[in-house]
Subunit: 192 residues, 2 copies
């Protein structure tokens, strides 16, 4: 069932860093991305694929992790992502294609989940530094989203919203990452 894959595809932020991700794994995800719908079929999105230890470390330094976990500075050494997919938009093709970005990002993450991988979509990026690391023309390409990938090494659980309706995720007393999700019926505002 596709729902099982959607459920498996949680946002993971701690990984088993001994597990490497191959170029082939990443290219398989790009192959999925190319098969997704694109507005007016423009297909303006491009991908920077990073799986080399040295470049991984440089990218890692320029990402902000889990803004809602104020005490946590991000994954420690040994639990960091072992690959990144940086999603860029070629502005000579089309601009401001955020819906395309979401379509592609989710498709790639579902593909990663099928392989037993996982990760997190990160929008809080020191873009100036990442342009330099990748040696990419910042006038032509916008960095829209970063997919941090690895072999998940934490438990993530969907829970109900608390009584006050707060959607903030948190870690419970067993270090389980808990994500309050609204109920389906609360998302429907017209039905006929």
């Amino acid at each position: 069932m596709f729902k099982d894959l959607v459920l498996k595809n949680r946002s993971y932020r701690r990984f088993d860093e001994r597990f490497e991700i191959s170029k082939n794994d990443l290219m398989n995800l790009v192959e999925l991305a190319r098969l997704t719908p694109s507005s007016v079929n423009w297909q303006p999105l491009r991908f920077a694929l990073v799986y080399d230890k040295e470049i991984n470390a440089k990218i890692f330094e320029n990402l902000a992790w889990a803004g809602l976990l104020k005490e946590w500075k991000g994954p420690a050494e040994g639990e960091r992502p072992t690959a990144y997919i940086i999603i860029l938009c070629d502005n000579t093709v089309a601009k401001n294609m955020k819906t395309d970005v979401g379509i592609v990002a989710q498709t790639m993450m579902l593909g990663a989940a099928e392989k037993g991988l996982g990760g997190c979509m990160i929008g809080s990026v020191n873009r100036d530094n990442v342009y330099k690391i990748l040696n990419i023309d910042k006038d032509r390409y916008s960095i829209d989203l970063v997919l941090a990938l690895g072999k998940p090494a934490e438990t993530v659980k969907i829970v109900d919203l608390p009584d006050d309706g707060c959607t903030n995720y948190y870690r419970d007393e067993n270090d389980v990452h808990c994500v309050p999700k609204r109920k389906a019926e609360d998302l429907v505002i017209f039905l006929r």
Copy 2:
């Protein structure tokens, strides 16, 4: 394989209108949407679910179909969608969440494909009219995307780009809808 589902999930614009879509089918797709990642876990998106013949007809009148097929005015009677999911953003929760919209839209379309359904993401919408049809507060909710759904009744084929690199989709001499997609290797601008 997840790739088979991604391949099955083409953008369809002609349907077998005898095939009805149930409220339950649509709620199953909302259940998938609620399980998707959302920026800062805000979950600002809401859904208007339409499967009633009369409302379907009203929504249909306010959508623009396949802008690149200049001669085609959209699906004829008998081949129109039998349900719509209108994706809205509750601006009291968060604004301008287009990446969330893409994540949710693709997840719902993949879920529809698994059920043997299909459809098209439509951004060209007469929003003022749709707000009135749904009786929804336009100051609070933005209409971000419409998913038109039905039982597909056309063939859609992925093809290579022509020599001039044009990505425009077209219908061939057998009325097959052809969608030129870039090759995976042409989407990768950094690899290491």
